[in-house]
């Protein structure tokens, strides 16, 4: 198993340029929401190196989701700057934003599946928006579903799935376009411990092909079991980080 993975890995590394993963640099980032005196994030500075996996942890309401949303440019920071790859997100215009997002894979905390579409259509969505051929979309989406153990669920609708299955569909959708930066918000929140570990292993493999991975999770046990570096937020402030 590992030898085949190793060869695959080297093949992929050859196929991609060395700067495949997108680094993320947060500089003194503060995010205020209307009607709140305290920022959801307060002067957070951190650098996520390309091709690394980092966990973001903290209590509920600490600002984990807000941090990921800033990185995908769902909204701009109130102060400070966010740089992804070599792009300062504040400079992205309406035409550039979709292209930027097409390089990301995002697992949303609330899954965000399209209820009117089948599981397969949901997983294909990131490929569809960039106008890929049907054959490529289907083969990749079916592969991604197979990896998430959902081989037989392609034709059903998200409501017909358990919450954990929906979460896995969300993960499959995030993987399908071979992201340069993977943002996962509580990706294991609804999964059993075994499944959680599998997902984490999967994310680590992404790092191996060069993808930068940022995982928000409050599951400290899981993080420690993985020994991966993490940063911790408390009430919007960065209170600690490890490096490995």
């Amino acid at each position: 198993m590992y030898s085949t993975l190793a060869t695959l890995w080297t093949r992929c590394l050859q196929a991609t340029n060395e700067m495949f993963g997108l680094g993320v640099q947060l500089t003194e980032v503060t995010k205020m929401f209307a009607g709140r005196s305290r920022g959801a994030l307060q002067g957070v500075s951190h650098s996520f190196e390309p091709g690394t996996i980092t966990f973001v942890t903290g209590h509920s309401g600490a600002g984990k989701t807000t941090l990921l949303r800033l990185i995908m440019n769902q909204f701009p920071p109130t102060y400070g700057q966010v740089i992804v790859g070599d792009v300062n997100l504040a400079t992205l215009n309406a035409r550039q934003l979709p292209r930027f997002r097409q390089q990301l894979g995002v697992v949303f905390q609330e899954h965000h599946l399209l209820s009117a579409r089948t599981v397969l259509d949901n997983v294909m969505l990131p490929l569809r928006v960039s106008g890929r051929s049907r054959a490529l979309m289907e083969s990749r989406a079916l592969n991604a579903l197979a990896i998430m153990g959902l081989d037989d669920k392609g034709d059903v609708f998200p409501e017909q799935l358990s919450t954990g299955e929906q979460q896995r569909v969300g993960i499959a959708r995030a993987l399908v376009n071979r992201p340069r930066l993977l943002l996962a918000d509580e990706p294991t929140g609804n999964l059993d411990p075994e499944m959680s570990k599998s997902v984490m292993r999967l994310f680590r493999e992404f790092r191996e092909i060069g993808t930068t991975v940022i995982v928000a999770s409050h599951d400290l046990a899981l993080i420690e079991a993985f020994g991966a570096p993490f940063i911790e937020l408390r009430e919007g402030e960065l209170v600690g980080h490890t490096r490995s």
Binding site: P98, F100, R101, Q102, H112, R132, S133, R134, R178, E208
Partner: protein
């Protein structure tokens, strides 16, 4: 669950082809959208029918007027030049006075030509017309006066025409002014009026139809905001997100255009008989105004266009205000 991410992309995944594959993907995408919008419309049939009817009514009004106007043009068409006016003079006018009068008429800018018709010529014309040469030959003296056949300039508006006739009638030597077709001039003026009216109405109701599609599409957008948000977050371009709604707009427009043609057809069926009867009473033979295939096509295309533009507007407004 299998543990292999790289496998996802390396495993004999078909390559993404060249331009050809892209074009096919593009075509498939549009076919899919067309099918989806059609399904949406049929699933929400009542709401769609309402929108179609509103758009149909909005389109049929200017359209009906347009058809009436073409009908009027068919009536007036045969008279390519403006209708003539005949000036009958008192009996026994001196020759020099006739010449002066002729010169006066020819000088008038409103009159294209003035031809003097002497009593003899008039009598011949008359006898030819009624076919009773013997009766005319029996006449010992010619009862007809001198006359002038006038042709007013073509561009003369109906009001000026009436003024001209009044002026001519007030000339001392003139006994009678007979206008062949004052009513025709009125029809011409009416036709022009209807034409402009239908243009104004077309503009007004076109905007109305536009707003109706825009608000119908807006409703669909509202029902899909969550979906749009997700699409935006996975990198959908605004153009990609607008596309399905443009199709909805086209569907609404086409449906409206169809209803409009139905309304107009019914209208023509109902009005045709009385219209022909009315025109017949004026001794005019008129073909019914044409409601032919090219016109129907034009209506449908225009309606689809209105739908697309309305949808585009709704999307631009609504999607811009989305916080993505």
């Amino acid at each position: 669950m299998k543990d292999s991410a790289p496998e996802l992309w390396s495993q004999s995944a078909p390559r993404d082809g060249g331009v050809h594959a892209r074009i096919i993907a593009w075509g498939r995408e549009h076919a899919l959208l067309l099918r989806e919008s059609f399904e949406h419309v049929t699933r929400n049939l009542v709401a769609s029918l309402l929108a179609w009817t509103l758009i149909g009514i909005a389109l049929s009004l200017p359209l009906g007027l347009y058809l009436i106007q073409t009908g009027l043009q068919l009536i007036t068409g045969p008279w390519s030049t403006s209708p003539g006016v005949t000036l009958y003079l008192q009996a026994g006018i001196a020759d020099e006075r006739l010449t002066a009068l002729h010169a006066l008429l020819e000088e008038d800018v409103r009159i294209e030509s003035a031809i003097h018709v002497p009593p003899d010529a008039a009598l011949n014309q008359f006898s030819d017309l009624i076919g009773l040469e013997s009766l005319v030959e029996d006449l010992t003296s010619n009862p007809l006066p001198d006359a002038f056949d006038l042709v007013p300039v073509t561009s003369l508006p109906a009001s000026d025409m009436e003024r001209l006739i009044e002026e001519l009638a007030s000339i001392e030597e003139v006994r009678d002014v007979v206008s062949e077709g004052l009513w025709l001039n009125r029809v011409l003026a009416l036709s022009e009026l209807v034409k402009r009216l239908s243009l104004i109405l077309a503009a007004l109701f076109g905007v109305g139809a536009l707003l109706i599609t825009a608000s119908s599409v807006r409703l669909v957008i509202e029902s899909r905001l969550a979906e749009l948000q997700v699409m935006s977050l996975v990198g959908a371009t605004p153009r990609f997100m607008r596309r399905p709604f443009i199709y909805f707009g086209i569907m609404y427009g086409l449906g409206g255009g169809f209803i409009a043609t139905m309304l107009i057809s019914v209208g023509i069926l109902m009005l045709r008989e009385p219209a022909l009867e009315f025109l017949g009473s004026y001794g005019v033979e008129v073909p019914a105004p044409g409601f032919d295939a090219p016109l129907v096509m034009l209506i449908l295309v225009a309606a689809a266009l209105i739908g697309a533009v309305g949808a585009q507007g709704a999307c631009r407004r609504r999607l811009k205000s989305l916080e993505m």
